[in-house]
């Protein structure tokens, strides 16, 4: 009984301090220091409309845009309210089937094999990045669709590419949404 009373008192104390107090503190800090990222790193158009988030991949199917990695989030993929990976074993034939539908979209051949991340779904289905290599792989298609020279597009890709892990990670990545925005703006 004494334990129960003490327990009830502690439930109240811990909720007040660890939930209300702690959350308020971090919320306040976030609002003060990083108001943009705290709201989800949203990208807004000139008109103030939300286009997306820097951190969240979105679906691109038109040839004039760079395409992100496949997504298993939600029914049609890229559902930022229901993130998910494919959860398929790397040995699963389902993955082979999925890859077989993706390969013709990119026109990959044995001579020009597809960079693997373009066939492999990300963990949350919302990975906003592809490697610089995978972006350059798509440059020809994008350039053709936009009537630009391939070199121009490749130049843009190289400008956008960055190395997130410094010396620990040799890969250079590009943010697909940012790259596509830059493409639209370059016009």
């Amino acid at each position: 009984m004494k334990s129960l009373i003490a327990s009830i008192r502690l439930v109240i104390a811990t909720m007040l301090i660890c939930v209300a107090g702690y959350t308020a503190l971090i919320l306040g800090l976030a609002r003060l220091v990083t108001p943009d990222t705290a709201e989800g790193s949203l990208i807004k158009s000139a008109g103030g409309k939300i286009i997306g988030s820097h951190l969240i991949a979105q679906k691109f199917t038109q040839p004039r845009y760079f395409w992100p990695r496949p997504s298993a989030a939600g029914k049609d993929g890229y559902d930022a309210s229901s993130a998910s990976g494919s959860n398929k074993s790397p040995t699963s034939s389902d993955l082979t089937e999925r890859a077989k539908t993706i390969i013709p979209q990119y026109g990959a051949t044995a001579e020009k094999p597809l960079p693997p991340e373009l066939a492999a779904a990300s963990g949350g289905g919302l990975d906003p990045h592809i490697t610089e290599h995978a972006a350059l792989y798509q440059a020809e298609r994008v350039a053709k669709a936009r009537g630009l020279s391939q070199a121009q597009v490749e130049e843009l890709v190289r400008q956008q590419a960055f190395a997130p892990g410094g010396i620990f990670m040799p890969d250079r990545l590009v943010n697909v949404l940012e790259l596509n925005l830059a493409l639209d703006q370059a016009r």
């Binding site: 003490a6 502690l10 439930v11 919320l27 939300i50 979105q58 930022a80 959860n87 398929k88």
Partner: protein, 560 residues
């Protein structure tokens, strides 16, 4: 080369950080009241919060009763909050009611520090449920573990009074978890993590598609989930979600926070017991297991995605299915091992999509459950193996086995082996049940053959180890899965806490014997090898057949 440096820096750096942390934790959890005025003031504050009962000293039985009462209340409060979330405030996206079996599973999961999630956070839970039910439990369930370790260590130090649970709980919550959470959460906020109470954002993409972007008070939630070895994500896919883990740096910070307190717990244990050399031996044994599993995981994950083998896809990169590019190639397997060595269970790549043998490493982590382990409880689990190792090694040196000067006799062995048997039972028995009943098991799987078996095996391994990660392809929000994993989580949480406390209580009551050259030393490398061997053998002999039918069969079938 980069990978080795990367891993060595994260693990080594955290190990170095854990040393001062252990010192602080000892100060916080087991203060020398006679000498520390600050600690006295805190104790008065804790008595103010918890009432006069907090001034009483408890023996191991009273301590356990208090712990259970508080934990029952934790379960009840969170169950009710989630159950009524549709009627409660802080629900900007209007989340609805949830099935009772899923609520049971979730409340059990978070009470037991497991955070196995048979729901998807951003789809199912209101902000109130996330914060006042789940995040609250992430604090107090972790604190329960730390408190239990402090009590056990006091018993092993020979004190008949194991302290007061309610004081220990507050010490762990307010003096250990909360300060670290505030620091780490601030860093996470700087790292670009969302922290808002606004509802989902509605975007219209460049191609004009509507996209609903779920968000929320992620930074606060994520932090305590990491440092308290909880692991339950704000979003369904956990730390693979860009909002829960936006950059390379937050990923490193996340990795560090997973093992920081579990490492510190070993030192805290050593300090309370007064045997730092013994703690060091235990620490090194844990570290060896950790590096062995990391090496295995990183090695096997270098193989490219097997499903793409004969397609026009580049084969020069490791398996990328279920991984995020921004963390780099080694981060996924490293995290997978860290999160399962400790009972954390957050993921930064999808374990279901790991290569077969890589997927075995997390399972080994959960089967052994002593490689630093959950906050507090990892060291408690380790104590069971220490009892066993001391018993066998003690006999081999020709004396009635003793640990820290107290004899390990029938009662201690009995309690320890019951806990170890329970550990095996709660993995193998329910997995067998679900393997035999296709409606419960096979029909809920996302993969076939050995990998499907791995999904079931993993689920119960995770529930039993209070880990919470999953081979998430499993369609586990069904009544059988919810009920069985929920029950396993609760039993596997409290049996391995209560029995070691009972052993410590029983040892504390014994006459302490002097140590001599003929006594088994628990502070040297030989004992370290013995302890290593004991853990390895018990684990391997118990789980090898299951491992063979899961990951090993899949590996032999596809990866040779």
């Amino acid at each position: 080369m980069n990978a080795i440096l990367f891993i060595a820096l994260i693990v080594g750096g955290t190990a170095i950080l854990s040393w001062p942390l252990g010192r602080c934790m000892k100060w916080a959890m087991d203060p020398d009241l006679a000498r520390s005025a600050g600690a006295k003031k805190f104790d008065r504050l804790f008595q103010f919060f918890g009432g006069r009962f907090c001034a009483e000293q408890q023996n191991w039985k009273q301590y356990v009763v208090s712990m259970l009462v508080f934990n029952v209340l934790m379960f009840a409060v969170s169950f009710s909050l989630i159950g009524f979330q549709q009627h409660l405030p802080l629900n900007p996206d209007g989340k609805g009611a949830i099935n009772a079996d899923c609520i049971f599973n979730t409340a059990a999961s978070f009470t037991s520090n497991t955070n196995l999630q048979h729901y998807s956070g951003e789809v199912t839970m209101s902000y109130l449920s996330q914060l006042f039910s789940l995040m609250w439990l992430q604090f107090v369930s972790a604190a329960t573990g730390i408190a239990a370790l402090a009590a056990m260590a006091r018993g092993l130090a020979g004190r008949k009074n194991m302290g007061n649970f309610f004081v220990d709980l507050q010490r762990a919550t307010f003096l250990v978890l909360l300060p670290i959470a505030i620091i780490v959460a601030s860093l996470m906020v700087f790292g670009g993590m969302p922290m808002t109470l606004h509802g989902a954002a509605h975007a219209s993409t460049l191609e004009g598609i509507e996209q609903t972007i779920a968000r929320g008070p992620v930074a606060a939630f994520l932090t305590i989930k990491q440092i308290g070895t909880n692991g339950g994500g704000f979003f369904g896919p956990n730390c693979t979600h860009p909002f829960e883990n936006p950059t390379f740096c937050t990923n490193i910070l996340g990795s560090v926070s997973i093992i920081l307190i579990p490492m510190g717990c070993v030192w805290m244990f050593g300090r309370i017991v007064g045997r730092m050399r013994h703690a060091a031996v235990v620490f090194v044994v844990m570290l060896v297991f950790l590096f062995a599993k990391i090496s295995g995981a990183v090695w096997f994950e270098q193989a490219p995605t097997e499903a793409f083998a004969n397609l026009p896809i580049e084969q020069n990169v490791g398996n990328l299915e279920g991984k995020e590019l921004r963390f780099g190639a080694t981060a996924g397997p490293l995290w997978a091992v860290l999160t399962t060595c400790t009972s954390n269970g957050s993921v930064d790549c999808m374990h279901d999509s790991l290569n077969p043998m890589t997927g075995l490493m997390p399972m080994i982590g959960m089967w052994l459950n002593t490689t630093f382990g959950g906050v507090g409880v990892g060291m408690i689990n380790m104590f069971l193996y220490i009892v066993l190792a001391v018993f066998v090694a003690g006999m081999m040196v020709g004396r009635t086995p003793e640990f820290l000067g107290r004899r390990i006799e029938a009662r201690e062995v009995k309690l320890a082996v019951i806990a170890l048997f329970a550990h095996a039972l709660f993995v193998l028995a329910p997995t067998a049940l679900f393997a035999a009943i296709p409606d419960w098991g096979a029909k809920t799987l996302n993969n076939t053959g050995p990998h499907g078996f791995s999904e079931m095996l993993y689920e119960f391994s995770s529930a039993n180890a209070n880990n919470g990660s999953g081979f998430e392809g499993l369609g586990d929000n069904t009544i059988p899965w919810n009920v069985f994993t929920g029950t396993v989580m609760l039993l596997a949480r409290f049996i391995p806490i209560i029995l070691p406390l009972a052993i410590a209580g029983s040892l504390a009551a014994k006459r302490q014997t002097a140590e001599s050259a003929g006594t088994l030393g628990v502070e040297d490398g030989t004992f370290g090898v013995m302890l290593f061997g004991t853990i390895l053998f018990v684990g391997a002999l118990t789980f090898f057949p299951a491992a063979a039918l899961g990951p090993i069969a899949e590996h032999l079938q596809f990866m040779r």
